[in-house]
């Protein structure tokens, strides 16, 4: 009989001591087309460049090609990640009021909410930041499509879950040919607005 992979830590001790969880859970949400899944893939890649950290990314979407509620959930931990989905969020980013209303209750009491302030006008909790991501993308970078990258820069800056250089390298890698500069600029815009907001 093959008994694959009995977890070593539990095999030796009769008491089966369970190590404390250090899960950090993130959800990026919006509508189809906002690029939340791609943003989350980039975030996961950047986190995964650190070999000491595990990361799992799951996604939820409807059968529509455009529109419809979309969310990407990311779990990171130093130890093994068993349950791949999120349970209580440390960080929630939303591009729509609908997603904000729906997912806000999934935040931990001290969880952080980040919203696109042009789309989300009613912010239900205090521990939150609002940035006009889509407007910033249009005005500062010249294209609304990079709003997700600005948001990525903002949450990286606000939380420090991933170093600037790591996320920069991944954004550069993911950018379609010819758009590297635009995307890196968008990321910088994200870093800058978040840094300014933090100081206040």
């Amino acid at each position: 009989m093959t008994t694959a992979r009995e977890h070593k830590t539990h095999r030796d001790s009769k008491s089966h001591k369970v190590p404390k969880d250090d899960r950090y859970e993130v959800r990026l949400s919006g509508s189809g087309g906002h690029g939340v899944i791609l943003a989350c893939v980039m975030l996961a890649r950047a986190i995964g460049t650190d070999p000491r950290r595990n990361v799992v990314l799951t996604q939820s979407y409807g059968p529509e090609a455009r529109g419809g509620a979309v969310r990407a959930d990311l779990v990171m931990a130093k130890g093994a990640i068993f349950y791949p989905k999120t349970m209580k969020l440390d960080l929630l980013l939303t591009f729509t009021q609908e997603a904000c209303d729906k997912y806000c209750q999934d935040l931990k009491p001290d969880g952080l909410l980040v919203v696109d302030s042009t789309m989300v006008t009613k912010v239900p909790i205090k521990n939150s930041y609002g940035f006009p991501f889509i407007r910033l993308a249009r005005e500062k970078v010249g294209h609304p499509m990079v709003a997700n990258v600005i948001a990525l820069g903002a949450i990286a800056e606000l939380t420090g879950i991933v170093p600037r250089e790591a996320i920069r390298a991944i954004v550069k890698e993911f950018a379609p040919k010819g758009t590297e500069e635009k995307n890196l600029k968008a990321l910088q815009v994200g870093f800058d607005v978040a840094k300014k907001a933090k100081r206040k």
């Binding site: 009989m1 799951t58 791949p84």
Partner: protein, 381 residues
């Protein structure tokens, strides 16, 4: 042509890992029809197979897809298809053809909600019994079920190994969440995992019997074009593949189909067992559900409840003997699955009388979370 990929740690989807696992195992033909949530497998194969000297064909439907991989395998090429529930149903007739003609193929079913078109983008584990009894007639199924991206790679390799070793179709059951889940994975180096190839005949052409009853009951398999003569039909056949109505030959063929797997089931059984030695309650779950179950078991241990986990990685053949032994001193077993109760009947069949069986199911397109499972552990412990 070897399949090359850098061995650095990569962020990869379960479906992508399945593609790389297949190429690692030597798969060089994919015939398929894209369907959510399995489409990334077809996409990956279409992109990578030509680079490895293989072939990809998008067929007109799943019936033809299954036919195409049987044909390709008969030429000596390791072959695979991937689908989800609706396609798996269409494939059943030809899967039966592969059982009786003893053609090694791999079928991946990335499960979604059903029946019929059901829930294209939502998770389910409702094809568990279909993988065992989907096509008609008597046969033994081999089914593997990974629970992580790394395992999607490893179990695809295993699925090919089992198919080649036993000359039989092998199903890999994953699910929507696992197929689309991304995790860091280090692709194994060439030679790191075992890769099994089918046994070829080394006898003179005139001595060859394509369905010869050997000590292992698995017959060496000549490829079409090798110069060996044989016949392939879905009718019950003799050792050369020609239809027979002789009861002795029929029985011999049916016994061969059954016993080539039943007698060597230990070779395919894979169980992941954690904290069962002192457990009062054991949770039994596979695939994505098992990950939530593991978390719930750890939550229970934190509360000093002696819980354990048994996760079958090979679901079929069902690990009867191993489970009887493992459950001998367990008072409760909780079967957790994303359907209206399928594997629970298998557990009820094998659990000793001293062990009470309880279930926890969910079938609304969502995964069971650890808290739900933990609460159920408290209820039934």
């Amino acid at each position: 042509m070897p399949h090359r990929i850098t061995s650095a740690r990569k962020l990869m989807q379960g479906n992508e890992a399945c593609v790389h696992g297949a190429l690692y195992a030597g798969c060089r033909f994919f015939g398929g029809y894209p369907i959510t949530p399995s489409t990334e497998i077809a996409e990956g194969m279409a992109r990578l197979l030509p680079k490895c000297g293989g072939h990809f064909i998008q067929m007109e439907d799943e019936i033809a897809s299954m036919a195409s991989i049987i044909g390709a395998s008969l030429t000596g090429t390791k072959s695979m298809t991937a689908t989800s529930g609706p396609g798996f149903s269409l494939m059943q007739e030809n899967i039966g053809y592969a059982y009786i003609t003893e053609v090694p193929v791999v079928v991946v079913n990335v499960q979604r909600g059903g029946p019929s078109t059901g829930l294209p983008t939502k998770i389910a584990q409702a094809d568990t019994m279909q993988a065992r009894y989907g096509t008609h007639g008597d046969y033994q199924a081999i089914t593997v079920a990974p629970a992580s991206v790394r395992e999607c790679f490893e179990q695809t390799v295993k699925a090919f190994n089992f198919a080649e070793r036993f000359r039989t179709p092998v199903t890999m059951l994953t699910d929507e969440v696992l197929g689309h889940m991304r995790e860091m994975i280090t692709i194994p180096e060439s030679g790191e995992l075992e890769v099994v190839d089918r046994e070829k005949p080394d006898v003179p052409h005139e001595w060859y019997h394509h369905f010869e009853i050997t000590p292992t009951l698995v017959s060496p398999m000549a490829s079409m074009g090798d110069g060996y003569r044989y016949h392939v039909t879905g009718l019950v056949h003799d050792q050369d593949g020609f239809p027979t109505a002789n009861p002795n030959e029929i029985k011999a063929k049916m016994d061969k189909l059954r016993n080539k797997i039943v007698r060597f089931a230990d070779e395919v059984t894979q169980l992941d067992v954690e904290m069962v030695d002192d457990a009062g309650i054991v949770v039994f779950a596979y695939g994505t559900t098992a990950r939530a179950a593991r978390q719930a078991v750890h939550m229970a241990r934190e509360k000093r409840i002696r819980a354990g986990l048994i996760r079958p990685i090979t679901i079929w053949p069902f690990p009867d003997d191993q489970l009887r032994e493992l459950l001998a001193h367990v008072r409760r077993v909780l079967v957790v699955e994303l359907n209206q109760g399928q594997l629970i009947h298998e557990i009820e069949r094998v659990a000793p009388k001293t062990c009470k069986v309880a279930g926890l199911t969910r079938y609304d397109g969502e995964v069971l979370n650890p808290v739900e499972i933990f609460k159920r552990i408290l209820e039934v412990k």
